[in-house]
């Protein structure tokens, strides 16, 4: 992966949700975390599609948990951010900071 790769908008949000949730990050909690913090309605399909993309880029890893009865005996898939993923978040934040630096109009809206 090139060190000039930045995260897309929703990729960025999903990876931040994973970092916030740490060991509790799976489909349901990620979806709920994003909805609670951004107020944006998100589908489970959108979350998994983005996690698939992040996993293909090496930014995220996943592992299956144990099956639980409230899920009809189905397992949870837990996700965690890799070192590469954290580097991508830092790169994206750095680029955004550089782009917004000194823009009074943005500070005025905040």
């Amino acid at each position: 992966m090139s060190n000039r790769d930045y995260l897309g908008e929703f990729e960025h949000i999903v990876i931040l949700a994973l970092l916030r949730l740490a060991a509790r990050a799976y489909g349901v909690t990620v979806r709920q975390e994003i909805e609670a913090r951004t107020g944006r309605e998100v589908s489970i399909g959108a979350v998994y599609a983005t996690l698939d993309r992040l996993q293909a880029k090496g930014y995220v890893k996943s592992q299956l948990g144990d099956p639980t009865p409230e899920r009809g005996g189905r397992s949870k898939r837990f996700f965690r951010v890799t070192a590469q993923g954290i580097a991508a978040v830092n790169r994206t934040h750095w680029a955004l900071r550089k782009m917004t630096d000194g823009l009074d109009v943005i500070e005025g809206y905040a």
Binding site: Y26, I44, G45, Y48, D52, L64, G72
Partner: protein, 223 residues
């Protein structure tokens, strides 16, 4: 698919999500949806939970279709192209087989030129059914090749082939055929435009549903 209160999420929605989910996420997406269905149901009642489940399923399928193509574009395109080749070389086979069979019966069972209307009726009906079954067979073959992208591949083929084929047919020979057959062409055009692509997708759904069932069985055996 049940949870503690005994309420079920809509079966059709759950089945549709299964069709479009990859093997890797089949268990986790179904489990996530069921877990949230239970939470919504205990908070807002069964009807709200069912509505929530349908809404989530529709959105989820939309995302899975679009990403299914993006994640494996070449294998999907390969399967669709294979389907196009099969259609190109095999599309006249059902008609030829049916006409051959009916001609054989006409010459051996019925006297020549008698009950011609019945012969034409059976010829038309058999060709329509033959086309639908051929669509099912093509969908099945394409889905066998397009592992885990069965629905995306067969839907793409259906969307490409049905309307395109109908437009080409209408543009090239529609005028001449219409003058000769008029409204009698309508069932054939409908089958070509909608029925045939639908059966391609049904073929894909049969293969995918079988694979999901096999996956569940192997997981049950392991777990």
């Amino acid at each position: 698919m049940t949870h503690q209160s005994g309420a079920h999420p809509p079966r059709i929605a759950a089945w549709l999500v299964d069709l479009f989910t990859s093997n890797e996420h089949a268990e986790s997406i179904a489990g996530d949806l069921l877990e949230e269905f239970s939470a919504v149901e205990s908070k807002s009642g069964v009807e709200s939970a069912r509505r929530w489940y349908w809404r989530q399923s529709a959105k989820t399928i939309g995302f899975l279709v679009s990403t299914g193509f993006r994640i494996a574009p070449w294998s999907t395109v390969g399967a669709v192209m294979g389907g196009c080749v099969l259609l190109w070389f095999g599309s006249s086979l059902p008609e030829r087989a049916i006409v051959g069979f009916l001609d054989l019966r006409r010459h051996h069972v019925m006297p020549q030129h008698s009950r011609l209307d019945i012969y034409v009726f059976w010829l038309n009906t058999s060709i329509l059914i033959g086309r639908l079954l051929f669509g099912l067979l093509i969908g099945w073959a394409v889905a066998i090749v397009a592992k885990e992208r069965e629905m995306v591949a067969t839907m793409t083929l259906g969307f490409l082939y049905g309307p395109l084929n109908t437009l080409v047919l209408l543009a090239l020979i529609g005028g001449r055929l219409w003058a000769e057959y008029g409204w009698r062409m309508v069932p054939h055009l409908m089958v070509l435009a909608f029925g045939f692509p639908f059966m391609i997708v049904v073929g894909g759904a049969i293969v995918r549903a079988t694979r999901v069932a096999m996956l569940r069985r192997s997981l049950d055996l392991c777990g």
